[in-house]
């Protein structure tokens, strides 16, 4: 297998493609990988053609951000469903808030369904990079390794690709109300909202009261270095994501893998758990989806994570919950700053606040569902279960 170098191109296999970007990680700086669907002029047709953490599925699912974590980001691309007029899908990496340059990485790997390329990063001063492009050539799709970018980061890149960016979010010290994103028409807000102790709530506004698919991701790392006998995929830590849901008619539900209560997306409780990652080895962790178009019927949701197996110590899990609302900044809640040994963590509350989604960070620890239920006043009846 030849490794494509900078500038090199190769055909990709026919059919659906999986794109894996191996970028590793930088301490103190976050790397975001995005995909842009562009015309022959290398511009997006509209901001809806930008596939990123705030908009993980574009063009009716032709390109989806399939997950990220452990220094990797994956996309699924269905070339047959890419709309006419889109001639390229450009994959980019940006460093959040330009806190580092790509020169601090050794290299970035690109893998398009087995066609592999590598971008050496030594000496790079860029903070936004075009990694690779899938492009139409004589009716067939090919991939080219690009490795060129901008020192000016995401704004420069976005301008290059014809995306308008809303003003960056105010500094985290500002009161929560002012960090609530209100993107201007035809602009994409690229700020990422991190809910911390100081900045613990955000209100997501949507004019029509429909929020599309609200996706909640739980991801974590297996810490193998301190416990040498734990090998990935065997007896490591198993984290589960779950939710309490209350609809306006007063009905309450639990969605979680334990007890096989996976929920339902199109019917009450309008919340569905996708699969169950038992080891953390699935690089994008576990997903919970809320039907945001039915938000008017939902009164409140409590999102929680619990340690199903392994040593109950949250610091060891490096757990992160991300809440993704289409067209809104990603909300991130980290649990790794806590060493609490209680297995149950109430992560965030999503409440229907006059039709808007009000997200409040919790990160409180409990011995189990029952204990957490009591703390938040839900009033379920509990019995032991096993998955």
């Amino acid at each position: 297998m030849t490794l494509l170098t900078l500038g090199a191109n190769a055909p990709v296999p026919a059919g659906d493609l999986s794109v894996l970007i191996r970028h590793g990680s930088l301490s103190g700086a976050e790397i975001d990988v995005s995909a842009f669907l562009v015309t022959s002029a290398e511009k997006v047709r509209s901001d809806a053609d930008m596939c990123f953490y705030g908009q993980p599925s574009v063009a009716d699912g032709a390109v989806t951000l399939a997950g990220s974590g452990n220094g990797e980001t994956r996309f699924a691309v269905a070339p047959s469903r890419i709309p006419a007029g889109v001639e390229k899908v450009i994959f980019t990496a940006t460093i959040h808030e330009n806190r580092a340059t790509f020169g601090q990485l050794a290299d970035i790997g690109v893998d398009v369904s087995g066609v592999q390329g590598q971008i050496p990063c030594a000496g790079m001063t860029e903070t936004a990079l075009i990694l690779a492009e899938l492009y139409l050539r004589n009716g067939a799709w090919k991939v080219r390794i690009v490795g060129q970018g901008f020192n000016g980061g995401l704004p420069a890149l976005a301008t290059h690709l014809g995306v308008e960016i809303a003003d960056p979010a105010p500094a985290p010290a500002s009161p929560p109300a002012s960090t609530a994103p209100t993107p201007a028409p035809n602009t994409v807000n690229l700020s990422k909202v991190s809910l911390t102790k100081q900045n613990n709530a955000v209100n997501l506004k949507k004019d029509d009261g429909r929020f599309g698919k609200v996706r909640i991701n739980l991801n974590w790392n297996q810490k193998t270095k301190k416990k040498g006998f734990f090998s990935r995929g065997s007896s490591g830590i198993d984290l589960d994501v779950g939710a309490f849901i209350e609809t306006h008619d007063g009905k309450r539900d639990v969605v979680q893998a334990l007890g096989n209560a996976f929920g339902d997306f199109s019917r009450p409780p309008y919340v569905k758990l996708l699969g169950d990652d038992r080891t953390g080895a699935v690089s994008d962790g576990e997903w919970l989806e809320i039907n945001g178009d039915k938000w008017s019927e939902i009164k409140r949701v409590l999102v929680y994570a619990f340690i199903y197996e392994g040593v109950p110590n949250w610091q060891e899990t490096d757990g992160v919950i991300r809440i993704l609302v289409p067209g809104q900044p990603e909300i991130e809640v980290r649990m790794n700053e806590f060493g609490d040994r209680r297995a149950m963590c109430a992560v965030a509350r999503l409440e229907n606040d006059g039709g808007q989604v009000r997200v409040t960070r919790e990160v409180t620890f409990h011995t189990g569902q029952r204990d957490m239920d009591e703390a938040y006043g839900w009033g379920f009846r509990w019995s032991a279960g096993r998955k």
Binding site: Q148, F150, G152
Partner: protein, 192 residues
């Protein structure tokens, strides 16, 4: 109608373009829109004798020597960035004016400072080289450098040569390491 060339393919210019008197070799690419060193591509021509070498330095037409002594081969000027539409550099050849002792004119394209700038054709957007009937504008042949010579930094585009009283074009399409200096060595020029 452009002819799609394979390496080593021959095109009889007098047959494909009867009455052809003037040809233009066009080199085009897009200016760099990302940050970093500009892409500076250079088209050059070597007027070769029967031995495949240039008789003197003046028979090497490039950015520092734009016109041959006889005036039959003319470079329209150096473009350092690729800015502008269409052909960014052009070499015009008046076939009737090419002296009888010139058996062939070799055309090359190189990236200036490719090694220091760590560049290749694949990193340049929309880079191409083509040969055109300069009187009608008809494109006779074209190579897409970005796509088909992506990992090269220099190539011999082809040779215009005399054969049985007609001019032919042989598409060489051979990548070449070492840039313009290596090309000069190949064609008998000592580079200072």
């Amino acid at each position: 109608m452009a002819i799609s060339l394979n390496k080593g393919g021959n095109v009889s210019l007098s047959k494909s373009e009867p009455g052809l008197k003037k040809i233009m070799i066009g080199l085009g690419w897009d200016a760099r829109s990302t940050d970093g060193a500009d892409f500076d591509l250079d088209a050059s021509a070597f007027m070769l004798g029967a031995n495949g070498k240039v008789p003197n330095d003046n028979a090497f037409i490039f950015y520092n020597n734009l016109t041959s002594a006889d005036g039959s081969v003319e470079h329209t000027g150096d473009n350092l960035t690729g800015s502008g539409d269409g052909d960014d550099e052009a070499i015009k050849v008046n076939l009737d004016g090419v002296p009888a002792d010139v058996h062939a004119v070799a055309i090359t394209v190189t990236i200036h400072d490719a090694e220091a700038r760590r560049q290749n054709f694949g990193q340049v957007k929309n880079a191409f080289i083509r040969i055109v009937n300069d009187e009608t504008g008809t494109e006779i042949a074209r190579y897409d450098l970005t796509e088909d010579y992506s990992t090269e930094t220099a190539m011999i585009f082809g040779e215009i040569y005399r054969h049985n009283n007609e001019w032919k074009f042989r598409a060489v399409g051979q990548g070449y390491a070492g840039g313009l200096a290596a090309m000069c060595a190949q064609y008998g020029i000592n580079v200072a």
